[in-house]
């Protein structure tokens, strides 16, 4: 243990260049998407040339038409109802599917693969497309919007919650198996309590997404504020549009603070 003995360092682990390679690949992909030949076509000088065209719209947006307020109330309420119903149904459907899609809570590779594949497909279809097709199938109104939102929500919640289950400790589940519990019993008695915070978080987040998404769904006739947005936009009433945007902002802020309070109590 002489202080003068030269330190013998262990051989350096191999593959330390890998993160750098990853960074280079990301930069390369970014560069390619920006390049005029292969990437998306856009140029900054278009902004310089055209910005004045939008200026009067921005000015109108800065002067909300407060007298329009009473007419926005019923569609706003409908938007909130759609969001709440869709969040509730989506959460109820998502909970068992989340447990089914995670390796820890469903060791069967095949049923897990089926759930994951179906949900990847569900997630890859835009909610606006769901709404368009459903409006054609069940008619204009809140119902197609709600169904579209439920599909959208299930895709998000199951993905996020099942991924959070994968990183949970497997030990408690093993204890349940050692005590003779079936997988279903173990999932209910043990895995569910551990997955609960992630589930509550995602459900609250999805509620906020639904308020925003249901404004867009109205554009294709699926109820809510979107129908009204489409109407005022057609008549270039940016002052009225401004009021609607303010209302959505207020609702999102309120949901954000309410969900923060719920999270503190439930999690």
């Amino acid at each position: 243990m002489s202080a003068l003995a030269p330190l013998v360092l262990p051989p350096k682990p191999r593959g330390r260049w890998k993160p750098w390679l990853g960074l280079a690949v990301v930069l390369l992909i970014t560069a390619v998407t920006l390049s005029p030949q292969w990437g998306i076509a856009f140029s900054f000088d278009a902004i310089v040339r055209n910005w004045q065209n939008g200026a009067d719209k921005v000015l109108a947006l800065l002067r909300p038409d407060w007298t329009f307020f009473p007419r926005t109330i019923p569609p706003l309420v409908e938007t909130l109802q759609m969001a709440v119903i869709a969040t509730f149904v989506g959460a109820v459907v998502s909970l068992p599917l989340s447990l089914w899609a995670a390796r820890l809570t469903n060791p069967n590779r095949y049923t897990r693969g089926v759930v994951k594949t179906v949900l990847n497909a569900v997630r890859s279809i835009p909610d606006l497309l769901y709404a368009s097709v459903l409006v054609a199938m069940v008619g204009v109104g809140a119902l197609p919007g709600i169904i579209a939102l439920v599909l959208f929500n299930v895709g998000i919640i199951v993905k996020m919650v099942s991924e959070s289950i994968e990183v949970n400790d497997a030990g408690p589940l093993e204890a349940g198996r050692a005590a003779g519990g079936s997988q279903l019993q173990i999932n209910r008695a043990i895995a569910l309590t551990d997955a609960w915070p992630a589930f509550v978080n995602q459900t609250l987040y999805v509620l906020e997404l639904n308020v925003r998404a249901s404004t867009v769904l109205g554009l294709v006739g699926a109820g809510g504020l979107g129908l009204l947005i489409d109407a005022v936009r057609t008549f270039y009433r940016y002052d009225q549009l401004s009021l609607i945007i303010l209302e959505i902002l207020v609702v999102v802020v309120v949901i954000d603070s309410v969900s923060a309070a719920i999270r503190r109590r439930l999690v």
Binding site: P172, G176, A178, A179, L184
Partner: protein
């Protein structure tokens, strides 16, 4: 820590009527990655014995304990637990067998966000219909068993606390209560005190000894500390590289015996003190 006498007298933990024996014949365990964890292990453990399994980490002692309740499948050989063949048991039959075998883990393995009571009720899963578990409607009898199990390890007062709020020693007692709630014929403990400080470790070992002496349950404990193995076991099984290299009484096992098992001289770290 209260003693187990009360509950034994109350007649709740009376599985001692028929504790289970273990018969292993030429058991081999090979993991999918090619590692051979157990090599031709043959053991007879009689009902009511208190056995310490000793070996360095990687010696196969954890695999040995986990084969006994089927958490680790055996590659060849036969394994009878309580007179029933475990190596061929599947599905419901395997769950019923596991329901009779309590297990205690190094990391306690409690559902951290669940209450202490709900963790102990996990010990009743094998005796509970699935619909009751799904609805969270445990039978009053099962709850009573859970309360008594908690009482017997002295932490009934914590029944409604979240498991994660308890200290390490308390969490391990909850885990022992979970095993007791199974009303087991056999208890397996995989390094039950390796995460605990010395006084707490002795407390947990005394709990295990009482399970054996007062309730008559067969207890198999993995340990890597030789003084604990000597003090609390009546029989010592030494494993080295997946093979049984010693099998004899625990109290008289000399340091030389441990040196055989460990394949090196005894060191300061090998005793808890």
């Amino acid at each position: 820590m209260t003693d187990l006498h009360d509950s034994a007298a109350a007649g709740v933990h009376t599985p001692a009527a028929a504790p289970w024996s273990i018969r292993m014949r030429d058991v081999n365990v090979r993991y999918p990655n090619g590692v051979v964890a157990l090599k031709d292990v043959s053991l007879n453990i009689e009902a009511g014995e208190m056995v310490s399994v000793v070996g360095l980490s990687g010696s196969g002692k954890s695999s040995l304990i986990r084969t006994i309740n089927g958490l680790v499948p055996i590659s060849s050989g036969t394994l009878e637990v309580g007179g029933r063949h475990l190596e061929t048991a599947r599905g419901r039959e395997l769950r019923q067998l596991r329901g009779e075998i309590g297990m205690i883990f190094q990391g306690f393995n409690l559902a951290r966000r669940a209450s202490v009571l709900n963790n102990v009720l996990v010990g009743r899963l094998a005796h509970t219909p699935t619909w009751r578990t799904l609805l969270g409607l445990y039978r009053a009898d099962d709850k009573q068993i859970a309360y008594e199990a908690l009482n017997s390890v002295g932490i009934l007062a914590k029944a409604y606390d979240r498991a994660s709020t308890l200290s390490g020693g308390q969490q391990q007692r909850v885990a022992i209560a979970r095993a007791l709630a199974q009303q087991p014929k056999l208890v397996l403990a995989d390094e039950p005190v390796a995460s605990l400080d010395p006084p707490t470790a002795h407390g947990v070992m005394r709990d295990l000894r009482r399970i054996n002496q007062d309730l008559g349950i067969t207890v198999l404990t993995n340990l890597h500390l030789l003084d604990l193995a000597r003090t609390y076991g009546t029989r010592l099984i030494g494993l080295r590289a997946g093979e049984v290299v010693y099998d004899g009484p625990a109290a008289t096992a000399s340091d030389a015996v441990f040196e055989t098992i460990y394949g090196r001289s005894i060191q300061y770290e090998d005793v808890l003190g």
